[in-house]
């Protein structure tokens, strides 16, 4: 087999990330690579779809198939690709503005469908690429370029929305907790159904509030609480809203229900992309006869 051995090195692309030194997104990129290696997924079977924003540049930095799509549209593009070829491992990535602002509608509906895809949000609580405006997850009171008197809107609670919308794998990571993040990412990719990881991925240039130390002071790992049962939706709900002095990270919730792909009759015959095209005369005549 001519394929090179699958290593972190072999997953490097020609393009060096253009993120600021210290950007949380480096950790997310590394965790995706580590998860692919750990799961032994051939990189040509991976399609990473992003939106627009600093974090959405990620597909260019890893040697896998990618679509760097439009602002807010990573999930529908990923959905179309996943339905067209469910043999692919489709991973959607992007930032909090991309996913919870301009793309919020798609976020909710993708989870309702329980498509077999993974969505990793690099959540830095700010619009970074546009140099520092308030985002949907910006902390109340935070003064940004667009909120000079402090943000008056309540931040979106993506994990609570995910639980309410039917996502079957809901986790929160922190890019400074590399080991945990890789584990969460590998489990998310392996999960059958819609998996969401909301990753605290600090912006070292435009967010001077939600910094690495700010998160480090607050986060605690759910897996260290032996009593926490991630299959219990009613236990997960309060955890999903816990965001203040203490913030849980780790796997909040996991369940099993049929994926969209499982329930779509047309996909019983294998990936759409492999199915035959067109109609024969008898089939066409039968369809026309319905109108006669």
């Amino acid at each position: 087999m001519a394929t090179a051995e699958l290593t972190l090195k072999s997953l490097e692309s020609d393009v060096h990330p253009d993120w600021c030194p210290g950007c949380g997104d480096f950790g997310v990129l590394k965790s995706i690579k580590e998860a692919i290696v750990e799961l032994h997924i051939p990189p040509h079977k991976v399609l990473i779809v992003s939106g627009i924003g600093c974090s959405s540049n990620l597909p260019g930095f890893i040697r896998a198939y990618g679509v760097h799509s439009l602002h807010g549209r990573a999930l529908p593009v990923a959905t179309g690709a996943a339905l067209a070829n469910h043999d692919l491992h489709v991973i959607a990535v992007g930032g909090d503005g991309d996913g919870f602002g301009i793309g919020m509608g798609h976020f909710i509906h993708a989870m309702r469908r329980n498509l077999n895809l993974t969505y990793i949000v690099m959540d830095n609580e700010i619009y970074g690429l546009t140099t520092g405006q308030a985002s949907p997850t910006t902390t109340e009171g935070h003064k940004t370029k667009s909120t000079p008197r402090g943000n008056v809107e309540r931040p979106v609670q993506p994990l609570a929305l995910a639980l309410a919308s039917g996502a079957t794998y809901v986790a929160r990571g922190f890019s400074a907790e590399q080991k945990q993040l890789t584990k969460l990412t590998a489990a998310a990719i392996a999960h059958k159904g819609f998996s969401l990881i909301d990753v605290f991925s600090p912006c070292v240039t435009f967010n001077m509030l939600n910094t690495y130390p700010w998160f480090k002071e607050r986060v605690y790992k759910l897996e260290e609480d032996a009593g926490y049962d991630p299959t219990d939706l009613m236990a997960a709900l309060p955890k999903s809203l816990e965001f203040g002095e203490r913030i849980p990270i780790g796997l909040l919730y996991r369940s099993e229900r049929p994926t969209y792909e499982d329930t779509e009759p047309v996909l019983r015959n294998g990936p759409l992309v492999e199915q035959p095209l067109g109609l024969d005369r008898a089939a066409l005549d039968a369809l026309l006869a319905e109108t006669m």
Binding site: V67, G80, V266, L279
Partner: protein, 667 residues
Amino acid sequence: MATEITIGIAGAAGDGLDRTGDTLARTAARLGLHLFTYNSYQSLIRGGHTWLRLRLSEEKVDNHGDHLNVLVALNQDGIERHAREVEPGGAIVFNGARFNCDPSLVREGVTLVPLPVPELTAPLGKLLPVMQNTAALGALLHLIGFEVAGAAEILFETFRKKGQEVIDQNGGVLRAGYDYAARKVPALGYRWSFSRKRRPVVTGNLMTALGAVAAGCKFYSAYPMSPASSILHWLAAHSETCGVLVKQAEDELAVVNLAIGAGHAGVRAMCATSGGGFALMSEAIGMAGMIETPVVIVNVQRGGPSTGLPTKSEQGDLNQAIGASQGDFPRVIIAPRDAADCFHTSVEAFNLAETFQLPVIVLSDLLLGEHRSTVDPEAIPSDVPIERGQWVDALRPEDRDNGGYKRYALTPSGISPRARPGREGMIHVSGTDDHDEKGILISDEHTNPAIRRKMHEKRMRKMEGVRARLRPPALEGPAEAQVTLIGWGSTWSVIHEAAARLTEEGVKTNQLHFKYLHPFHGAEARAILERCRRTIVVESNFTGQFARHLRAESGFSVDHVLTRYDGEPFEPAYITRRVRAFLEGRPVDLEVEEHEAREMAYHYIRIHMQDKTRPGRLRKVAAAEYGEPVWEVELVGRAAGTPEGLLVIGRETGSTYGSHSLVSNER
């Protein structure tokens, strides 16, 4: 001369008009007749006024024409609105036990056929009120010279699942209506020669969907929007049979991005919407152009702007289609001309989309999409060409990945062979930022004007390849003509008929019709038009969008633009009348016409008088107090036609100046 007839069925939504029309249409089609139906419906589930016209002919017809020979009125309102339109030699059929027809509404030589429905149906037991339709249909069959058996057969098939009792009742009522009419009135004297060749009765939307399936479409996404929804409904119902994954999404943003995602993954993907949804899709259409992903987007146009006229037709989205999304990128815009052409347009759209890796926009419209006509089954082939374009399936090991594959290779044709995600060795990223041959971004801090220029030129070069493949426009009709009528899309048939009529009447007229709107055959169009004497663009929008496009692309300015933008489709006479006015040098007359004043009165009566009166006689009055000449519309009692008031409508502005009661003002 081919025998033909136009039948109008009037009623309220919910009166069962569609079923009656369907039975009649299929009966005619099984006899070997051609037909076109136009349903002037409203966006209401029940109530309102619905007006279905069926034009049946021994020859192919693709518009509803100008005539009304028989009116089947399913309610009182239908009689009042349409009785005066029935031409001499025609008839009006209605349930005489529930409705009456004021003789003053009826032209001389029109036969009234009031059916005593309760008497006719009494022997069949207690029946639903909609069974009056079946009795009327029976009477109609006698009048127009059809045998009763054909319709009975269709009713049998329709009600087969509902049991013998329902079948017997329907068949019985049909025959009772037929026999009663046959006893009471002579048939109208139509002499048909029935070929009995069975033809499908289809809509443009059905043909668009079927063409897509035949062309190998595997993925269809949509958000409900009139008048595109019937594509969604048909494909959803036939999804498994046809092997098409159908996905309703949360909005049109998702719809088009789903289709592009599927197209990128390697399947033929299509979506459809109308103008508002298309506006939401704009940004992604540019993405398809930039990342060179094939996708077919159907815009079944309706009246705009904004929510506009959800149930009326217009060709108002040409500017939008040409201008959708930021920047320049290759795109194709095709406008099919009739139902059969919708089938072939879908096939062609996929082949162009995949060969040239770009978005293809199909501009259909409500008239084409929703109205039914017969097609010849031979015109609908199953073995359509499926051209999937250039692909790279494998590379030599040493050329793999970052070595050899260039997704956006700079080529003379502008076409760069695609690779399917999932195939080993051709890993790449497709980005909406501008990029180099391998897809690596050249935006932001790495902006590279030289690469940008060559990549932009490569993409745009594909337009030349598309143009070379498309059939240029050609004149139809007499070569040396006094008038050339120019149109695009769904108006082909009505313009064709208008041109033939003008020629017959001594104004030699030919036709130049455009199916391919972008890229455009500018030079070819100019060469043809420069030799024409009087050029008139006919299109249904306000500003003459195509005339402007033609001027932009060919440098040719036409003499006149003949527009219609009231939501109703062109009729041949509408065109011929205005062409004559142009020839006589008369300016376009925008005064409120009599039938329009009547429509305005109906609106006033519905909103302010709870439908208690109807418009009677109309009179033109030069009334100084309104600052413009006005229509005085007599408001009369629904049944007896006794005068009850006057409504004043400005002839220039169309403003309603209120009503004056003639009797004591009690409501």
